[in-house]
Symmetry: C2
Amino acid sequence: MNRLLLLILLFSPLLGIAQEQNQEEDAFFIRRIYDEGLTRSRCYDWLNFLTQRIGGRLAGSPQSAAAVEYTRRVLDSLQLDSVWLQPCMVPYWVRGDKEQVRIVNSHKMGTIELNALALGNSIGTGPMGLTAEVVEVKNLEQVDSLGEALRNKIVFFNGAMDPTQINTFNAYGKAAGQRVWGASRASRYGALGVLVRSLTTRLDDIPHTGSTVYEEGITPIPALAISTRAAELLSRLLQEEPVRVFMRSTPQNLGEVPSFNVIGEIRGSDFPEDIILVGGHLDSWDVGTGAHDDGAGCVQAMEVLHMIKRLGYRPKRTIRCVLFMNEENGLRGARAYWKWSNEQGEYHMSAIESDRGGFTPRGFTADGHEDVFNEKFLKAIEWLPLLEPYGLAFRKGGSGADISGLKEQKGLLFGFEPDTQRYFDYHHTPIDGMDVVNKRELELGASAIMSLVYLLDKYGI
Amino acid sequence: MNRLLLLILLFSPLLGIAQEQNQEEDAFFIRRIYDEGLTRSRCYDWLNFLTQRIGGRLAGSPQSAAAVEYTRRVLDSLQLDSVWLQPCMVPYWVRGDKEQVRIVNSHKMGTIELNALALGNSIGTGPMGLTAEVVEVKNLEQVDSLGEALRNKIVFFNGAMDPTQINTFNAYGKAAGQRVWGASRASRYGALGVLVRSLTTRLDDIPHTGSTVYEEGITPIPALAISTRAAELLSRLLQEEPVRVFMRSTPQNLGEVPSFNVIGEIRGSDFPEDIILVGGHLDSWDVGTGAHDDGAGCVQAMEVLHMIKRLGYRPKRTIRCVLFMNEENGLRGARAYWKWSNEQGEYHMSAIESDRGGFTPRGFTADGHEDVFNEKFLKAIEWLPLLEPYGLAFRKGGSGADISGLKEQKGLLFGFEPDTQRYFDYHHTPIDGMDVVNKRELELGASAIMSLVYLLDKYGI
């Protein structure tokens, strides 16, 4: 919080922009939200079902269909004003056989297996695999400077996430380009395939998948992530001798298939046209069970509606829970939602996305259209004294991929922000499961989001 | 932070109490601390040795002696000005056979085993165990009101930790009395033994040990903790029928044995008589491996000295790392330290204890002698702008058991405060091990403590 904001916060009463809210009443209600959220929440049980009973839920997969059906039924059971499925077409990508990546010519260590996962949307090597010499780069720019030297090579992107960033999402943001665009960039110069260092600050044997994007016009080449320890080993060997790697992956893009966003809402009593959206994304990667990414966000959004009912709160505005499909490898659910919402002439007064894991809440990032953002953000800042006792703060920053397209409606967009330290230990891996989710932390997150929804609903913005 | 403090913080320059520090230089140095702490720390490796190679380190045990020797050697390797062992006598308590607690008369469910751990310092039931009817109470006061009705009974303390407390230490503080004083209170009225609900907000099968204290003059009776699920089951059965329980524990108090605090220090260049202590406690419970409680605090304190060396920082004041012995069941190491320090006429300008686990840092609680506390605390508050970028805050509150006795020296005492949500999932259990410690979170803690040490050293307080 900078000093200007502090000053406004301190002196807003003197300056005549007195807060109308009854702070005592609000503090009491927010305390009730937390009491309820920490004692009678079902969101942990819901997450358990999504992860343990359904599992990984990549868009288009049978599991994603099961997740649509399950969450629709849960929402149906909450006595909402309406629950519906919103159709969208999604790409259906399947991983195929277990990936193989192997150093085949090390004089020192013989054949060495490297733990790998094909990147989402990537093409395969063909059933025979491919073998080529490896060239290491640290980033996309280095690809351009090496240029033709990469022809018929495997390009190894070894840009590490910066461990000195306190917020791990900053480190992720800086390193993710190689995963998303590495294959396209290397293909420009005739490379045969790419290996990408997994995006985590940990040094371990767990590969992290994630989406890759083939630019139009380039020849798609296979792309796999390798674990950070594998990356360190490969890099060390490359300093000593040329290294040849065999890689094999057999994923397939099975074209587009129909899927759905799952939506439930409670209609506002006084201003039903003001929509407050809470959401997460229902799809996850196929490896692991998508507990933190983003089962947690989904069950927190559902819990907000359930808490409104349990607390007997009658919202003035429309509170809508949206579980978006295909955030991971297409954002098709979100795009379908934005298009539909705009066609209806809707106004999202606010939207809150939870897609940074189910960890201890630290607050919310806020974003919005430049025409309205500062004014609306200053209004939200006035609520800080009510939220600070729960360890919550606001800061400017991106909201969430699924709600980012609502900016044109000129509401205020929030990204729920939990503690970031552990998220990239699990992100897009086989170990993102229920055993790394803490029940209290998950419930505190739902309570934090509900508290903000309450203030947004009561006072508008 | 309350408004008064904010005002002081904002207007201190205008009021003429300008901060002398070069804020830019300090911000730069603290950034260096974190860069160093997050990339070249050895504290995770040290903790790995303490937990995986040495294990549970109850005072007086062979493992506690190994921990003394290991940490002394590590400190010896850091090129400090002095490293020494400070003798103290500690009680040596051993657990004996695996505890048995069994419901023996349930009509519904037959014989039911309850997961249990003897409380530290408790006496045993004798090798034959004991069987008696159970009476449930929620707190110590209820014992007094039941009085003679407890004669020849087993008193079951079933006070749950309040899950609605946001800071779990508050909930612990309110519920811990039954574990510490339950046996003494029940013994007043002729009870034969006590069972205590484990102190955690989780509902699981893991019993949590911890110390119990026999008041002088009462007849000691055996005391065991049972898991929260066992407690819920027992309570439910008690609502339906009288319940008889068999309990057996064979711990022994083996008297007093010699042990040590481990101390290392870097002598100050300008004000060596001003001591800044960083510390944790080296002993742990015998079950589990004491990773969060308090191996984490020990390696963080050691890392502060190591970081000072790695950074080439020359402290003006004396920085002393103290690894206290016997915090868990006697505080003998701390008492020996206080006595010795007072006899030397020492002045602890400040002391920082880390004994709340190795989780993501949130800040520091501050405490001190009433004669000086407010003035010194306001001085510390001036450093907040340098610490807030790292998610750190100050609040008034207890510092730590091992340093609390230094209050009479009228310095400023701090307790390092990490996120509290998960601590009581593991506290005093077999699962407090390395696999529930996150390397980054541990390192961030050490960096936070080092940052405060730097400011204390540079500016005094």
